[in-house]
């Protein structure tokens, strides 16, 4: 009786992603199929311009689905109102916030918008969530600084804190480790890992830190020009998927160490 059917958080069904304008449709990738389950940490890797951001933006509803269906929590993405979707997923984008005049605390507090009243008044519970988001990302000392006063790396962590404050079961992050030093790169990825395993959040992040992603992710999505490989890192290494990521003349993947090296 306690046997629960595994519940997919995101499911893509024969998905085609790309850009649409009045005159033409540019397809970036097609035939995408995957199911991501609750509490999984998924690393999305691929060469520049392969469509990692497009995929994340399409799942977040920021770009139209060209063809196929995305299900979020078993409900088609199309059926969500923006506020309902804001309760399901939060995002960290590569773009900087438009205003740099916000304090860190104000910025992170904005993450509570889906839950607050018409003027955005914060309840005690909201304040607690904001505080723990700041704590988790080691940004509470920055709380009263303005965003133009902090470094790009610090801002990156603040943007992650904002997504945490939104407190959604699903978090999408587009290259969350850019601008970060080596310690914070590992720190952020470990934080994502803990959030996934302890709080049961489902996290999909794109990254260029392939070796770190191999070590930490439950499963990985490898985008190549031909297809998308989706499996555990171990199986992907065995199948030789990482070798096909980049031209072999310049860099080579070592299946034993899980690292790339310059040839």
């Amino acid at each position: 009786m306690t046997l629960e059917k595994k519940h997919s958080v995101i499911e893509a069904n024969n998905l085609t992603i790309g850009y649409q304008s009045k005159k033409k449709t540019t397809v970036v990738a097609d035939g995408i199929n995957f199911s991501i389950y609750k509490g999984e940490l998924i690393g999305l890797v691929g060469a520049n311009g392969i469509g990692k951001s497009t995929l994340l933006r399409t799942i977040a509803g920021m770009q139209p689905v060209i063809d196929g269906i995305i299900y979020i929590d078993n409900i088609p993405l199309k059926k969500y109102h923006s506020l309902q979707l804001a309760n399901q997923l939060s995002i960290v984008l590569t773009e900087a916030p438009a205003s740099r005049n916000l304090t860190v605390l104000e910025l992170v507090s904005l993450g509570r918008q889906p839950y607050t009243n018409w003027v955005g008044k914060l309840s005690e519970k909201d304040k607690e969530t904001i505080h723990s988001a700041l704590q988790n990302t080691e940004t509470e000392t920055l709380a009263h600084q303005k965003c133009f006063e902090i470094s790009d790396g610090q801002l990156q962590r603040v943007m992650i804190a904002r997504a945490l404050a939104q407190d959604t079961p699903l978090i999408l992050l587009d290259e969350p480790t850019t601008h970060l030093d080596m310690y914070h790169r590992a720190y952020v990825l470990k934080l994502l890992k803990t959030l996934a395993s302890d709080s049961g959040k489902t996290i999909l992040f794109s990254t260029h830190e392939i070796d770190l992603a191999i070590q930490l992710s439950d499963k990985m999505m490898v985008m190549t020009p031909e297809t998308i490989h989706f499996n555990t890192s171990k199986k992907l290494i065995e199948a030789g998927c990482f070798e096909s990521l980049f031209p072999k003349e310049t860099i080579q993947f070592n299946p034993e160490t899980g690292r790339f090296s310059i040839k």
């Binding site: 997923l89 916030p97 438009a98 205003s99 918008q113 003027v119 133009f148």
Partner: protein
């Protein structure tokens, strides 16, 4: 928690300043009236000379109220536009909103001659002036916004705003070539800007415009805060972008259009006041910023009007000239000191 306390302190200072500037504005004018008489007149006690009573109640009081409404309203519309366009240089004057309103009024005043006599009289009622002006600014804002969707470059948007200004100037020049001297004079006096030519009836219409615009502005406080992160983040936090954008555009065009109709195109208040306010209220939260900008705009306009009426002389300077003389150096000073304008 300490922060809210500081803001409460600032707000009480601002309100006090508003009261003082209001009283000073009413006390000073071409006719010297003792301060005691002013207080007694305002509190309903009457004055020792009936002409004083008339000057205060039918001229200075509506003028002071118009100044507060115009200053506060334009400043709030500037704040709304800076956040909507996410550009610190946005404002009703810079983006061509005032030019659009001018065009609406020019077509109305200068075109009214063509319809002649009776019809012209109807066309020139206060309401039609407001509608023409608000419609003009609404159309320009819509045009600027549709360009913004295509052109993401903020510089380009400002240049387009300037172009709208030139086009308006050209159309007005063509219109004035064909209209007679009387109408032309009427239009030119309007374009100097004036706070004093308003009746109590006109003031009521202006108040309705300002209150409607401000209500729309206050409804948008939460979406405005979300927009500070950019459109994509705002949408990801559940914001209905189309509805919000429409609300903010409506609010700004009602405010800028309505005020421009009565007070003429007033420059720099919309651009400078939000930046001045940010020097004291170091927050981006519109819940604090919007009322602060409203009061600061009102105070600044009262000061500008007090200067414009050249106390104890018989001359009154065009209000537009005074706001530019005060506003332009403020913007330059902020740019030089801070090296960049933030919003």
């Amino acid at each position: 928690m300490e922060i809210t306390k500081t803001y409460r302190y600032y707000f009480s200072i601002l309100l006090l300043l508003l009261m003082i500037t209001f009283l000073v504005n009413i006390s000073l004018g071409s006719v010297a009236i003792p301060f005691k008489e002013i207080i007694s007149s305002l509190s309903g006690g009457g004055t020792s000379k009936s002409s004083w009573q008339f000057i205060i109640i039918d001229y200075r009081l509506p003028k002071a109220i118009t100044a507060m409404l115009a200053g506060g309203g334009l400043a709030v519309s500037g704040l709304l536009m800076q956040t909507l366009f996410r550009n610190p240089l946005a404002g009703p004057f810079v983006l061509g909103l005032s030019s659009g309103a001018s065009l609406g009024v020019a077509i109305l005043i200068l075109g009214a001659g063509t319809f002649g006599g009776f019809l012209g009289g109807i066309l020139l009622s206060s309401w039609s002036l407001v509608i023409a002006s608000a419609l003009g600014s609404f159309l320009v804002l819509l045009a600027v916004l549709s360009v913004t969707i295509k052109v993401k470059d903020t510089m380009a948007i400002l240049i387009i705003g300037l172009m709208f200004g030139s086009v308006t100037g050209a159309v007005v020049a063509v219109l004035s070539y064909f209209s007679d001297a009387e109408q032309l004079q009427q239009y030119i006096f309007w374009s100097f800007g004036s706070l004093g030519n308003i009746s109590w009836e006109g003031l009521m219409i202006l108040s309705i415009c300002c209150i409607a615009g401000l209500i729309l502005g206050f409804i948008s406080i939460k979406p405005l805060n979300a927009l500070l992160l950019g459109e994509n983040y705002a949408r990801s936090m559940g914001l209905n972008l189309k509805k919000t954008t429409l609300l903010i555009i409506l609010a700004t065009s009602i405010l800028a259009g309505g005020i421009t109709a009565f007070a003429g195109p007033i420059a720099f208040v919309g651009l400078a006041v939000p930046h001045l306010t940010r020097q004291f209220f170091t927050t981006s939260n519109h819940l604090v910023l919007m009322p602060a900008v409203l009061i600061c705009g009102a105070i600044l306009m009262l000061i500008c009007d007090t200067v414009a009426q050249l106390p104890f002389s018989e001359y009154t300077l065009p209000i537009n000239a005074i706001t530019s003389l005060l506003g332009a150096p403020v913007v330059i000073w902020l740019l030089v000191r801070k090296r960049k304008l933030l919003f």
